[in-house]
């Protein structure tokens, strides 16, 4: 991995997000109710500038902010059989799928990408809560397996951002079978001695929590994320009592030993870089945004990811997408 291959890699992935510019210029924070200027919110990684509430962020936007220079390439995911059960509730499953695809501009509920963070090659997978609640079906399973396989091939760590209401009911038992399938993916990483970092985002529930999201080498959650197996409403119905404030939220899980850390989204990139580099036994990362490479210099002297780069002029700053 050197500057040239990085630099010439198509940027198309990161430059387009169909939902980038909604007609509505204002976003209302669901937590504090503040009216926020949309651009301000997206520049702040969808974190409320008034109360720090972490709103959902689409995988592409997350990747654009995460990877060096916003550059990444997507990892292809094998397409599963469409509508394997011929499922129909009030709508047909294929209709629900098409509606979700129209709304999100995405193909399915998980995106897998490869690139560098702090000049460290990584594979990332992110679940898209806006796509049918991020639900885990055959595609999400295939995506996680593809991500693990790519990580093993390229000897890179896998960072997975979870967000899901649980299993995709429209795929019935096959959605349930993603629990063992994705666990096989985790086993592949374990066997290859590669780090598997899970970033649990709001909400991560059901079969997703009870499989790959709780099997990380390191568990980091975003603040106040709901993380559970059974949702609070189901529990309240079962035990017929009100649950305490903050129950099943990230900080609560941290207190109960289920997480390593709760980390603000703006600090996530630096933290991931630091963790991944230490686990991969690499030297400290180059902090800050990388300057545009001098093609001649870059050709002659490919940057070694192990060595701290003195060209970095900016102090510890986030690499922001354009």
């Amino acid at each position: 991995m050197n500057w040239i291959s990085n630099y010439v890699r198509p940027k198309i992935n990161s430059l387009f997000s169909r939902r980038e510019t909604p007609e509505n210029l204002w976003t209302k924070c669901p937590e504090c109710g503040s009216m926020l200027f949309h651009r301000e919110v997206s520049e702040n990684l969808n974190v409320c500038t008034s109360c720090d509430h972490h709103m959902a962020i689409a995988p592409r936007a997350r990747f654009a902010a995460l990877f060096d220079g916003g550059v990444f390439s997507t990892v292809p995911v094998p397409e599963p059989v469409a509508d394997p059960l011929h499922f129909r509730d009030q709508k047909r499953y294929p209709e629900r799928m098409r509606a979700a695809q129209r709304e999100t501009g995405e193909h399915e509920a998980m995106l897998v990408a490869q690139g560098e963070i702090g000049r460290t090659p990584v594979v990332c997978a992110a679940q898209d809560f806006s796509f049918m609640g991020g639900s885990m079906g055959m595609y999400v399973g295939n995506a996680i397996i593809a991500a693990a396989e790519r990580a093993v091939e390229s000897q890179s760590p896998l960072i997975l951002f979870s967000a899901a209401g649980g299993a995709r009911m429209q795929e019935g038992i096959l959605s349930l079978m993603q629990m063992p399938r994705t666990t096989v993916a985790v086993e592949m990483l374990k066997e290859a001695g590669l780090p598997y970092i899970v970033v649990l985002t709001h909400p991560t529930t059901g079969g997703v929590t009870a499989s790959y999201a709780m099997l990380g080498d390191i568990h980091i959650a975003e603040p106040n994320a709901l993380i559970c197996f059974a949702g609070p409403r189901v529990i309240e119905q079962t035990i017929r009592e009100k649950l305490p404030e903050g129950f099943q939220r990230a900080e609560y899980l941290l207190d109960h030993g289920m997480l390593d850390r709760v980390t603000h989204r703006k600090d996530m990139r630096d933290e991931l870089i630091a963790i991944v580099r230490m686990l991969m036994r690499l030297g400290p990362a180059v902090r800050g945004d990388l300057p545009a490479p001098d093609p001649v210099e870059a050709l002659a002297k490919p940057a070694a990811p192990e060595a701290p780069d003195t060209r970095a002029s900016e102090p510890a700053e986030e690499a922001k997408p354009e």
Binding site: V81, P84, L176, M179, R181, E187, G206, A210
Partner: protein, 320 residues
């Protein structure tokens, strides 16, 4: 007393009438009811055959949850000798919703683990209706690990509405416990055979059933969510459980078509509860066959085959 299911009401009437007649005859010696009673028996038998010929998925759910259905404890008592229960997760508690221990199946020493629902009010409460807490999964992990280290095959008997949705269960890491149990299943270098004897409820079932071979009783069900839960989410009406049960394809017959299970174990006419001895014998035969299939395989092969079984699962959809 026989518990009749809702759809068995007409049957209950006929069988009830036959019984009444016979009871009457017992107190009144002049009465000869045998002819009439026998006719009713015949009618009942025909109706039973008819009812169970094409059970709808929702009816199968009801049979799978039948209060008199043989549970894990019955199978363990009937199929194994020298059963030696092992308790506790060495961490917090012993979960009575999960039973397990060393046992002998024929000559083979095995580790048997299963969900137990209980059979009356007292035992149902004690067993938490078969809904395990994290300690149950952690006990299972411990027992699987023990079996693995001493080279004993593992047999799991699955019968749970799902993992327990309680406050303490969540606090103590229900998700993590289930995930680790599934992971342990995948790591075992010994044969793992799983039989779904009643309800295979979601993650609580997968945690035991990520096996080399999975069999299901003819009228058992295995699903990502209960039909009632699915109906209330997708139909916004819990009363649509019949439709949901249909759509979810949770029957042994559909799961076999989907390639999710390897074998269907036949039940006696009218369901396992009508002739427990028969179903127990059928399970014995199935288990013996499944364990024999795997007995010659070495550690690496067992792990590799189990993994690829799940990796390739679902690739064909219903055409599998």
């Amino acid at each position: 007393m026989t518990h009749y299911l809702e759809f068995e009401k007409p049957l209950a009437e006929i069988e009830g009438k036959a019984e009444e007649l016979r009871a009457l005859a017992r107190t009144n010696e002049e009465m000869d009811v045998e002819g009439e009673a026998a006719a009713l028996d015949k009618k009942a038998a025909a109706m039973l055959a008819d009812l169970y010929k094409g059970l709808t998925p929702w009816r199968k759910c009801q049979v799978a949850r039948h209060p008199d259905r043989p549970h894990c404890k019955h199978y363990i008592e009937a199929l194994f000798t020298e059963y030696t229960p092992l308790a506790g997760d060495r961490n917090f508690a012993d979960d009575h919703a999960v039973m397990g221990g060393l046992a002998r199946f024929g000559d083979r020493a095995v580790m048997v683990i299963g969900h137990e629902k209980g059979n009356d009010t007292r035992t149902r409460i004690e067993r938490n209706f078969g809904m395990a807490r994290p300690e149950g999964y952690r006990k299972a992990i411990r027992l699987m690990d023990l079996a693995d280290r001493f080279g004993l095959p593992v047999v799991t008997l699955v019968d749970t509405p799902g993992a327990y949705p309680g406050k303490g269960a969540e606090e103590r890491g229900q998700s993590e416990a289930i995930a680790r149990s599934t992971q342990k299943c995948l790591q075992l270098g010994v044969p793992l055979v799983s039989i779904i004897i009643g309800e295979g409820g979601s993650g609580g079932a997968v945690a035991f059933a990520t096996a080399n071979r999975v069999a299901m009783l003819e009228h058992s069900v295995y699903s990502v969510i209960s039909p009632e839960g699915c109906a209330s989410i997708l139909w916004k009406d819990a009363e649509k459980m019949r439709e949901a049960a249909e759509a979810l394809r949770l029957t042994a017959q559909d799961l076999s078509k989907l390639g999710v299970i390897d074998r269907i174990v036949p039940e006696p006419l009218g369901g396992a509860h009508r002739a427990p001895a028969v179903v127990i014998e059928n399970v014995r035969k199935a288990l013996d066959g499944l364990l024999s299939d795997l007995s010659e395989k070495d550690r690496e092969t067992l792990i590799k085959e189990r993994r690829s079984k799940f990796l390739s699962m679902g690739a064909q959809g219903l055409a599998a």
